[in-house]
Amino acid sequence: MMPEQMIRWARWARSEPWIWSWLATLGVWLATIAFTQGRGSGEVLTAALVFATFTVIVGLGQMMVVTLGPGNVDLSIPGTIALAGCAAMKLTDSENPLLLVGILAALGIGVAVGMFNYGLIRLLRIPPIIATLSTSFIVQSAAIAYGRGIRIKPAPMLADFATARILGVPVLAMVVALGSIVIGIALARSRFGRSVLAIGQNMRAARLAGIAVDRTRFATYVLSAVLASICGVVLSGFSGGAALDMGDEYLLASIAVVVIGGTSVAGGKANVPGIWGAALFMYLLVTMLNTFGASPGIRLIMTGVIIIGVILVAGGEEQ
């Protein structure tokens, strides 16, 4: 009986790859609270939820882009976060009434960056990695030039929203969870979602099946950039202002959560719950290594080793 059950379980786990990141999250959390003998277990979780939320926002966008198939990746996320954050802070000028202007400007930046990205990919026929890299240079420069020395606090409303909690659960996390559900449904049941999945499996077949390949890819790159700009706004709201380097860690993090979360790097298969699991895992891993007193060097090495380990295990099976 046992082996049969195990086989069934293993088969289920393979069809639901998000389970691994959640198991890993649980394991890391248990190890952490075992070390602290249960002290602060709740706080660690809440903090993880808050910080994971930001990673999830950009992770979802990156997930959609990666799902478009091999070679598709958005490297302009950090620059967009910084520029959108700076623009929102500067235009809002800490005034509630101007908040809408700031947010609209940030969203506008997202749309523009996404359009520019896909324009380069399409018109210059260059791989997305180079296109988004070139874009990121320019966006980053614009952010630096535009936001130099800004010390502007976010509008109180934005700050309140970004830090509010209901029954101990961050409001922002709830909103993003809702957004994740929308994206999950869109992937399974909307024309756009199905188109993205089809293009990721086989772009040529998708075109011949009558799918609007160009429009879908364009929309996906815009979506990713818009999500990055939203992340820039809420992140500055949360941390009391925009900083030029605040997007830097999200380049690697966004790709890492996509890979660890069970989205196929070969394209055509996306996984929303996995993004959450992986984002929580990444944060809790760092917390655990900190609790254990690991040096920054060890933390970096562990992160890299885990990313590589996951693609060695998961990526190989796809091929």
């Binding site: 449904i185 909307s190 999945l197 499996q201 086989n202 077949a205 099946a209 009558g210």
Partner: protein
């Protein structure tokens, strides 16, 4: 003669399956030294698989391969084949486009190394090109990417005949003349005879029966993965050869003959497609509503490009396609199937318009649609939620037909869709196409199976990207189609 005591190469009991499909079934093949063996058969008869087994690029499931007296065991590979002097010119391009012709020769020969290798490679390939194709116009330093498709094929053939440190024993040529013009093809065949006279063996695969009959000493006929006939070439005529190859659609032929009603379509129904191939001049493609129109000619002479041109019809100025189109791929893996999806999702992707309600796909409707088409065209699966890859090739193809036919498209473009499909499935699909055409759907059908043209109301023959002939149902005989596909350059 002592040498002739052993054959150059002998293969016994070669068997190879791809999933449920038997590509080779206990095939025996012997080639004597200094013999040119012709290999003929319809598409999917197993010729290419056999050749890949001989070249070492595909391992047979069972069978023994001997070169001379030596038995070559498990570790047979392209490298071993090279050592024993077995060379192969594949149908698809096997040159590196980023390298020069001389550099490609170097890739082919491990012995071309050390100081001055490049001069040696240049001299080697240049001399061989001069020998086979006098006046070829290819410089050894030309980058392959810059050469025309015909010149690439010439370079590849010449490369296969160059010799460095291992002897040349057997050269396998798979459709070597498909991209060559008539005079170059003649140069090659003449060279082949002189080379064979020197003791080299050759296997020649060609659709061109005249070429085979004239050039080979002996002919092996393949059918459904088996070698069904083998005789000296002199004992075959064109007709006996055709008879030995067998006809794929034999039993369907009687029903296929259309009545006078169908041939009247051309006169009575409006034109729905009007296009001239972008790839060349020639006649205009005209398709009337409810017709089944065949695109014939040798593989890769512009038929697929024509279909793609029609697929993009709405966006092109010089192409009129007045009704919505759907495309059925022949190369399922690269053009058709979404491998991660279920059968149902693979079918429904063509029908978003009918399945959307309030911006979201109605899953019940999606399943019902897939279910009804499974029953209608008999996709053999217990559950349409199963992965598409759980189906056999023929049933995957049926799913692709279901995708196109379930959609709102009134014109269906088919890109040689019966590739690698079993005979039973073929019959079912032929009937389906006929029934849909009767109901007013229009079909444009590129096929490499001449027999399938019997199901077409009108046939256009392609050569070098241009339409060179338009034939009515009764005129589209094998002779007429072949005559238009080949060497008319001499007549023109």
């Amino acid at each position: 003669m002592c040498l002739a005591a052993f054959p150059a190469i002998s293969l016994t009991g070669a068997t190879k399956s791809f999933g449920a499909v038997r590509a080779l079934e206990r095939v025996d093949l012997v080639v004597a030294p200094g013999e040119c063996l012709g290999l003929v058969g319809h598409n999917g008869a197993g010729k290419s698989t056999l050749m890949h087994v001989l070249a070492g690029t595909l391992a047979a499931d069972a069978g023994e391969l001997r070169v001379g007296a030596t038995l070559l065991g498990r570790g047979y590979s392209p490298a071993v084949a090279y050592r024993y002097g077995i060379r192969c010119v594949f149908q698809e391009l096997s040159l590196c486009p980023n390298l020069s012709v001389a550099e490609n020769t170097r890739i082919f020969h491990g012995a071309l190394k050390g100081f001055g290798w490049k001069a040696k490679a240049r001299a080697l390939i240049g001399a061989k090109l001069d020998e086979i194709f006098p006046g070829h116009g290819i410089a050894p330093d030309d980058e392959v990417a810059d050469l025309s498709i015909g010149k690439r094929q010439m370079a590849e053939i010449a490369c296969a005949f160059t010799v460095t440190d291992t002897p040349l024993r057997l050269v396998i040529l798979d459709e070597p003349t498909s991209s060559l013009d008539a005079s170059t093809a003649q140069q090659l065949l003449t060279f082949l005879r002189t080379e064979v006279a020197k003791g080299t063996s050759a296997i020649l695969i060609s659709h061109l029966l005249k070429e085979i009959l004239k050039t080979s000493d002996r002919i092996v006929v393949m059918k459904d993965g088996k070698a069904v006939d083998a005789r000296p070439a002199a004992q075959f005529t064109r007709d006996t050869l055709v008879a030995a190859m067998g006809t794929v659609g034999e039993h369907g032929k009687a029903e296929a003959a259309p009545g006078a009603k169908r041939s009247a379509l051309r006169a009575s129904q409006p034109v729905v497609i009007r296009a001239k191939p972008h790839t060349g001049g020639g006649q205009e493609l005209l398709v009337h509503r409810g017709e089944v129109v065949g695109l014939a000619g040798l593989a890769g002479h512009g038929q697929t490009r024509m279909l793609l041109q029609l697929f993009d019809g709405g966006r092109l100025a010089d192409t009129t396609v007045s009704e919505p189109v759907a495309f059925i791929a022949g190369d399922r893996q690269t053009d058709g199937v979404f491998p991660l999806w279920s059968i149902a999702r693979n079918i429904s992707i063509g029908s978003f318009a009918t399945l959307l309600s309030g911006g979201l796909l109605n899953i019940q409707k999606e399943d019902a649609l897939a279910q009804s088409w499974r029953d209608k065209i008999g996709i053999r699966t217990p559950d349409i939620g199963n992965p598409i890859l759980s189906l056999s090739g023929g049933n995957q193809q049926k799913a692709l037909f279901a995708r196109a036919l379930a959609s709102l498209a009134r014109i269906v473009l088919m890109d040689d869709p019966m590739r690698g499909v079993d005979v039973g499935t073929k019959q079912e699909v032929y009937e389906l196409i006929r029934a849909e055409a009767e109901a007013g759907r229009t079909f444009v059908w590129y096929t490499t199976e001449l027999d399938e043209l019997a199901y077409c109301d009108h046939t256009y023959v392609f050569r070098n990207g241009a339409i060179v002939a338009g034939l009515g149902q009764a005129e589209a005989t094998e002779e007429r189609v072949l005559a238009s596909s080949f060497h008319e350059d001499s007549a023109a």
